[in-house]
Symmetry: C2
C-alpha cells in the first residue's frame, strides 16, 4: 500500500518532468509557474490512491493524475481571470503577474496539455478515460458559469447552490477517483462507489472552502479572507443566512450585497451577521453530513479497510484543513 507522501513524491516528480518547448517562453512560463506553486495536489493524489486499491504499482495512473492536475490548474488560471482574483495559493495570480491575454492563451495551452496526458493511454482504456474527461470538464465549465451568474443574482436557492458546487468542484473529485479506479481495473460498481465518495467529499470540501473564506486564517489560507463576501459570492453561508434571517437581518444582508465601496466594513458586518445566526455551525453540520455520505460510499468499495486507510485519512484531513 502506498502512503500519501509517496503519492505526493510521484506527482511532484511527474510535474517536474513535464516537457515544455523552449519557445515561445511567454506561453509556457505561466504554466510552469502555476504548476510549481504550492497546491495540495489532492486531485492527482486521489487518482493514484484509487488506482492503488487495485494495483500495487500506480505508475500506470501517473499520466492521468497529471492530466487532472494540469486541468485543475488550468481552471484556476481562467477562473482567477474571470473572478478578478489577485492571489492564488498566496502568490500573484497569472493574469496579474503577466496579463489577461497571457492567462487566456496559456490556459488554453494547458487544457490541451491535459489532453496530451490523457492521450498517452491506449487500447480500450483510452476512449473510456477520454469520455470521462470530456464529460467532467464540460460540467466544470457549467459550474463556473452558474457560479458567475449567481454573483449578479440577489437570491439563489440552496438547491441551485448545491448543483453549482457539484458541477464546479465535486465532479472533478469524483472523476479523479474514477479515473484511478478505471486504470487500476476496478469493476463498474466500485468505479461508481468511488465516484460517489468523490462527489460527496467534493461537496463537503466546497462547503469547507466557503467556511474558510470567512473563518480561515489569512496567513495559511492563501487567499484574502472575506473575498467571497466582497464579490457577493452566493456561498453556502450566505444562502443559509438569507434563509434563516429575520426581516431586519435579511434587509441588512441585502443592503450589504448592494454596497461595494466599503470592503473592510462589509466583511466585518456580514461576518457579524453570520455569527448572530450561527451560520458557521449550520455549514459545518451540512459539511459533516456530506462527509458521512462520502465515507459510507467508500465503505462499500470492495477493498479492505486497511487498503482504504490512506484514502480515508486524506478525506479526514481535508475536513480538518486550515487552507
Amino acid at each position: 500500500m502506498i502512503t500519501f507522501s509517496e503519492v505526493l513524491t510521484v506527482i511532484e516528480q511527474g510535474i517536474h518532468h513535464i516537457q515544455y518547448p523552449n519557445q515561445p517562453c511567454r506561453l509556457y512560463l505561466p504554466i510552469k509557474y502555476i504548476l510549481s506553486s504550492k497546491g495540495k495536489k489532492i486531485r492527482p493524489a486521489l487518482t493514484l490512491l484509487a488506482c492503488n486499491l487495485y494495483q500495487e504499482d500506480v505508475s500506470k495512473a501517473v499520466d492521468a493524475a497529471l492530466a487532472w492536475e494540469i486541468f485543475h490548474n488550468f481552471t484556476l488560471m481562467h477562473d482567477d481571470l474571470m473572478d478578478n482574483a489577485d492571489k492564488r495559493r498566496g502568490e500573484t495570480s497569472v493574469h496579474k503577474k503577466w496579463d489577461n491575454n497571457t492567462a487566456i492563451l496559456s490556459g488554453d495551452t494547458m487544457l490541451v496539455l491535459a489532453y496530451k496526458y490523457i492521450s498517452r493511454y491506449s487500447g480500450e482504456k483510452l476512449p473510456i478515460l477520454l469520455n470521462l474527461f470530456n464529460q467532467t470538464t464540460t460540467e466544470i465549465f457549467e459550474g463556473q458559469e452558474y457560479d458567475m451568474q449567481f454573483e449578479t443574482r440577489s437570491e439563489v436557492t440552496e438547491e441551485e447552490y448545491l448543483n453549482m458546487i457539484r458541477l464546479k468542484t465535486a465532479v472533478m473529485i469524483g472523476a479523479c477517483l474514477k479515473t484511478g479506479a478505471i486504470i487500476g481495473g476496478a469493476d463498474e460498481k466500485d468505479q461508481s462507489k468511488l465516484y460517489e465518495f468523490g462527489i460527496n467529499l467534493g461537496l463537503a470540501f466546497q462547503i469547507q472552502d466557503d467556511i474558510l473564506d470567512v473563518y480561515g486564517d489569512s496567513s495559511v489560507f492563501g487567499k484574502n479572507i472575506g473575498g467571497d463576501i466582497l464579490c457577493n459570492k452566493k456561498t453556502f453561508l450566505l444562502i443559509s443566512a438569507l434563509n434563516v434571517a429575520n426581516q431586519s437581518q435579511k434587509a441588512e444582508l441585502l443592503n450589504w450585497l448592494n454596497t461595494n465601496n466599503r470592503p473592510e466594513e462589509k466583511i466585518n458586518a456580514v461576518t457579524a451577521l453570520y455569527n448572530q445566526l450561527e451560520i458557521k455551525n449550520k455549514a459545518r453540520k451540512r459539511m459533516d453530513e456530506y462527509y458521512e455520505k462520502a465515507i459510507t460510499a467508500l465503505d462499500q468499495v470492495k477493498a479492505s479497510q486497511e487498503e482504504k486507510k490512506t484514502l480515508k485519512s486524506l478525506a479526514e484531513e481535508l475536513m480538518n484543513r486550515k487552507s
Copy 2:
C-alpha cells in the same frame, strides 16, 4: 466524387445537429451563435474532400470535420477577445455581444466540445487523430502567442513572420486535410503530401488575408479595413515595406507605428506608403509562390486529377476570394 456544395450541406447539417444542453444557456448560446455565423467552412470541407479522395462515402469523416470547425471557431472567440476585435464575419464578436468572461468560458467549453467530436472515433484511428489534434492545436496557440508578441515589437523578420503564420494558420489547414486522409485510409506518403499541400495553401491564404485587410472591400470582407494597420500587426505587407523602404519612408512608417490617436489618417498614410513601394504586388507574388508549392504537393498525391478536382478548385477559389 463529392462536390463542394454537397460537402457544405453535410457540414451545415452536422453543425445544425450538434446537441447542446439547455442550461446554462449563457454558456451554450454564444457557441451556437458563432457556429451559425456565415463562415466559409473551408477547414471542415478540406477534411471531407481529403477523405473523399480515398472513400466515396465521407460520412465517417464528418465528426472530425466538425471537431476542426468547432476548434477553429473557438480560436476566433478567444482571439477576438485577445485582439479586442469588435466584429467577426460582419457580426458582433462574442465578447462584445456578451462579455469577456462569456467569451473565455464558452470558448473553453467549445475546445472540449471539439475533443468530444474527435473522441467519437474508435480503435486505431482514435490515438492517431487525437495526437494530430493535440499537436496542431498547441502549435496554433504558439502562433497566436507570437502574433501578439509581434504587435509590441517594432521590427519582425520575414522568417519570424512566416513561422508565426505557419503555426497560427497553416498547420490547421494541413491538419484538416491530413485528418480526412487518415480517416479515408490514405498511406503515410499521401497523408504527408496533403499536409504539405495544406501548409503551403495556408501560408498563401494568410498572405492573402493580409492583403485583403488593406485592399479588401469592407462590404464583403466582414472585418474593418485597415484593422491590422491600426493594431500595428506585423503583416507580410508591413514587414516587406520595412524591408524595401528608403530611410525617410522607413522613418515615416515607424512614426505611424507609434501613432495611435488618428486611426483614419494612419490607415490612409500607411496604405499610401504600401502603394508607393508596390507592396501589394510583392505580397501577391509571394502568395503565388506558396500556392504553386501547394499545387505541386497536391499533384504528388496518388489520386487521379479528376478526383482531386474539387480540392484544386477550392484552392483556386481561395486565392481569388474577396473575403
